[in-house]
Amino acid sequence: MPRTLLDKIWDAHVVAQEPGSPAILYIDLHLVHEVTSPQAFQTLRERGLKVRRPDKTLATVDHSIPTYDRSLPIRDALAAKQVAQLATNCQEFDVPLYSPETGRQGIVHVIGPELGRTQPGMTIVCGDSHTATHGAFGSLAFGIGTSEVGHVLATQCLLQHKPKNFEVRVDGQLRPGVGPKDIILALIGRLGIGGGTGHVFEYTGSAIRSLSMEGRMTVCNMSIEGGARAGLIAPDDTTFDYLAGRPFAPEGAAWDAAVAAWRRLPSDEGATFDRSVTLDASALEPMVTYGTNPGMAAPITGRVPDPAEVRDPAQRRALEKALAYMDLQPGRPLQGQPVDVVFIGSCTNGRLSDLRQAAEVLRGRAAAEAERLDVVFREAGCEWREPGCSMCIAMNGDQLEPGQYAVSTSNRNFEGRQGPGGRTFLASPLTAAAAAVTGVLTDVRSLM
């Protein structure tokens, strides 16, 4: 029977399944960070257990670690304790830790792929919902809670029910100024934030094929904002070209064997999906959110929606509440809305290609000269920070003041996500950079 990419990865990782029980699923790579792991290590300690496969485990610090000068001590005592606790746990349990001193520290969903640890066909988990990012490589990657972090540390396995297959087909060519972030915001706007619950998205179609790995990661990253625990993109030459030569990528004959196996992963002709949806990439515009969840998104050329035009009473109330929180007037154009802060970063859009795009807008011409992107940003008046989750999650000192508006390339515009009372417009790096230039929500195409 023809199988999907999800089916193939799933089947290859089922260790055992008893009748009436979930499958015991083997995990190939477990990423660990400081916020969702301390209680899991404590469980291991209390039960006298070891980490079963330190070689399949990788830890770094990103969530609560501040992004200011790393030569300074961490001012927040709780964050300092959490960061120190991870180091203690990794030492005690023999888990490799990419701390700032190693030069390899970074946002967990950025460094896994950059180092070549993330590879097609793998199962990858992390105590973080944006683990979905790694699905861009054709690996089944999803977020887990701290209890499950403990399960994987101790047994390298998880108990899981198989999710359903959901094809998201995106065909057509993106227009200038429109990118992967706009695809995923448009999708979530269409499906709603619970639309993918119980499913794994597989993104297919010509628009997805033509995306870079960074672009694919942006799309997969926000699968969880559509309710899907994971997003997948079948590996192809773009994937292999990205991985070749990375520090942990296979080499020589092992590389050839790996690529041959990876080429068998894509969904078979005739494989069926439980659900499907199609988007026309050529019709998309730069997107921006106006509300307090990622599904409340509109084209930048649009207006703030009017609750009076929403028929469903629950949805109307939700929109009213969101607009009250955002202090936005129904019917007003989104363009021109004043902005206090622009945040370019996060596991969604904090990669080199994202910074290059933003720099291009900030300088008004292509960034070059051995990159020196930091200079471009600093000269444009930006702060250039050390790697971390920063203002995406507001638990490390980087946050909005109450009432401030931010255009953010991150993934969540929930109330208070970027600081209590802070108001978030989610958008692409291009749109964020445009707002940084003009101080208001701006259609980046007007600057191009």
Binding site: V15, G20, S21, P22, I24, Y26, V35, T36, P38, Q39, Q42, T43, R47, L49, H63, S64, L78, A79, K81, Q82, Q85, G127, D128, S129, G143, I144, G145, T146, S147, G150, H151, A154, T155, Q156, C157, L159, H161, P163, I193, G194, T197, G198, I224, G227, R229, N293, A314, Q315, A318, K321, I393, A394, M395, P402, R412, F414, E415, G416, R417, P420
Partner: protein, 195 residues
């Protein structure tokens, strides 16, 4: 984990849809290395003003909410992050079950692993429960996991579905880690076959 036993309790009505984990427990409270103590900051930004004083209009701050063990919430409860601190905070406050029409996948998994029961009801039942809770804030409900019922004050029992494996674990107070450790020989075999 303690076995999940039947309980009788009052309900708190939180009619918002898509309650995300950043509302349940804002990220700034995740800088802890413990599970305990999170209940005090459950729904912190809805519950307290900027100065930390309780907002009198928020449901958890009303006198009738004290001691409630059941949370009646809108659709898609627990969406957003994977933080297990969300069920820890709900349990820490004193809730033992949450009723909604749907739960986000990771939240549901996390809740079940900690003995917080996610009860899924259909839209009509959900509406009926909301109306009842709004009209009679002091009403008491009985939750019986073995019977898979949520009983109303008039004795009407609403049946709910739950994954049988999760139900067994909750009723017996067994955690999944124990189950997985019982399968180490199969895991070893799997690893040997792949290497």
């Amino acid at each position: 984990m303690e076995p999940f036993t039947p309980f009788v309790g009052r309900a708190v009505l939180l009619p918002a849809e898509n309650v995300d984990t950043d509302q349940i427990i804002p990220a700034r409270f995740l800088k802890t290395t413990d599970k305990a103590g999170l209940g005090a900051n459950l729904f912190a930004d809805w519950r307290y003003d900027a100065a930390g004083a309780p907002r009198p209009d928020f449901v958890l701050n009303r006198p009738e909410s004290r001691g409630a063990t059941l949370l009646l919430a809108g659709d898609n409860f627990g969406c957003g992050s994977s933080r297990e601190h969300a069920p820890w905070a709900l349990l820490g406050y004193g809730f033992r079950a949450v009723v909604s029409t749907s739960f986000a996948d990771i939240f549901r998994n996390n809740a079940l692993k900690n003995g917080l029961l996610p009860i899924v009801v259909d839209a009509a039942t959900h509406e009926r429960l909301f109306a009842l809770a709004a009209a009679q804030p002091a009403a008491e409900y009985r939750v019986d996991l073995a019977a898979q019922t949520l009983a109303l004050p008039d004795g009407t029992a609403i049946a709910f579905q739950i994954d049988p494996f999760a139900r067994t674990c909750l009723l017996q107070g067994v955690d999944e880690l124990g189950y997985l450790l019982g399968h180490v020989p199969a895991i070893e075999q799997y690893e040997a076959a792949r290497s």
